[in-house]
């Protein structure tokens, strides 16, 4: 049950990693700007303002679809958490190559916490 709730929460909140946030930003500005420019040019070329309206709204819909949901490509660079302080030694491994938390001490305001 908890797992299902956690999945639902994750889907609803749709959190993405830092690289994903950068990508979402680029996509928002890029797609909307391009669709606006295309909408104006097509409408002006065909002398039909309805083309501008529909292309602009369509481009906006595409942007919403591309940016808002938690697509997998927004989560390609997850940041690992530090292992818990009192975890057994075998779990003191970040899972990332070459990064082993064993023997690393963390100081906060001059006090050893890790």
């Amino acid at each position: 049950m908890d797992q299902i709730l956690e999945q639902a929460r994750s889907l609803w909140e749709g959190e993405v990693d830092f690289e994903g946030q950068r990508l979402a930003d680029y996509l928002t500005y890029g797609l909307l700007t391009i669709s606006g420019v295309i909408a104006f040019l097509v409408g002006f070329a065909t002398q039909n303002i309805y083309q501008t309206l529909y292309i602009g709204l369509g481009g906006t819909a595409v942007t919403f679809l591309a940016v808002v949901p938690q697509w997998p490509f927004f989560n390609q660079h997850p940041l690992p958490w530090l292992p818990p302080k009192n975890a057994p030694k075998s779990q003191r491994n970040t899972g990332l190559e070459g990064i082993n938390m064993e023997g690393i001490s963390i100081e906060v305001d001059g006090q050893k916490v890790g």
């Binding site: 928002t28 909307l32 303002i49 602009g56 906006t60």
Partner: protein, 246 residues
């Protein structure tokens, strides 16, 4: 951009900016389309009679009834950003003391001419047609209910001995025997987005000023004998808004 709600807000926020920018570009782009409006306006008849503003009024005023002929080509006013053109004809006449009181202007006829892609609306003008034959096909019937003569395009007006839509009077109640009066064609171009543009008589950029569309006349003396009632009828047109606005 870290969760769904922020992404929705960011996309929608930038969408409003893009929509505004595109709308501004459309509004400015109309200066690129050339306009060559032309019109010939002739006064056919003008009569001044006594009347009252409404049935129970005890006030007697002078009313002018102006019949005109108009042959206008305003089709170039319809560019990609034109929703409709409001065309109207005014009668203007100077005041008794032109130095201190400006001239008066009164509308005698008007018409809402929609662009071809504008949605249907029952207030739009229906151009009169000469043919009295009943339309045989649906296509024929539809072509009779347009704001332009059959087979033409929006902005073409061919009115012969057109009765006015409105009889006019003056605030003083006296309109007979005024001189230096002018009948003038005016219009508003109402765009989909952008500024409302009035008629121009001077050429600005690619927009040529209107040539013609003016007729000088004088208001005659008050009709001594009773005028024929049929001659004083107004023609409100076939719009379906008579008596009830919008």
């Amino acid at each position: 951009m870290h969760n769904t709600l922020t992404r929705v807000q960011n996309v929608f926020g930038f969408f409003t900016s893009v929509a505004f920018a595109v709308a501004a570009a459309i509004a400015i782009s109309v200066v690129l389309s050339s306009q060559t409006p032309s019109a010939s306006l002739q006064l056919r008849n003008v009569q001044v009679v006594k009347g009252r503003p409404h049935y129970y009024s005890t006030k007697r005023e002078e009313y002018a009834h102006i019949t005109f002929s108009l042959d206008a080509d305003l089709s170039t006013l319809f560019n990609w950003n034109t929703k409709q053109v409001f065309a109207y004809i005014t009668a203007s006449y100077p005041s008794d003391s032109p130095a201190s009181i400006p001239e008066s202007e009164a509308v005698v006829w008007d018409a809402v001419i929609p662009a071809k892609n504008a949605p249907e609306h029952h207030n739009t003008y229906i151009h009169p047609t000469k043919s009295t034959a009943r339309p045989k096909t649906k296509k024929e019937r539809l072509s009779l209910n347009k704001a332009y003569p059959p087979g033409k395009e929006p902005g073409i007006l061919k009115l012969d001995k057109q009765k006015p839509k409105y009889q006019i009077t003056d605030v003083s109640g006296k309109i007979a025997e005024r001189n230096n009066a002018t009948l003038t064609l005016h219009w508003n171009v109402q765009p989909w987005v952008g500024a409302l543009v009035w008629d121009n008589r001077r050429t600005v950029g690619r927009w040529q000023g209107l040539k013609g569309g003016e007729a000088a006349f004088e208001f005659p003396p008050l009709k001594a004998t009773e005028a024929k009632k049929e001659d004083l009828k107004t023609a409100t047109g076939k719009e379906k808004n008579r008596g009830s606005p919008a």
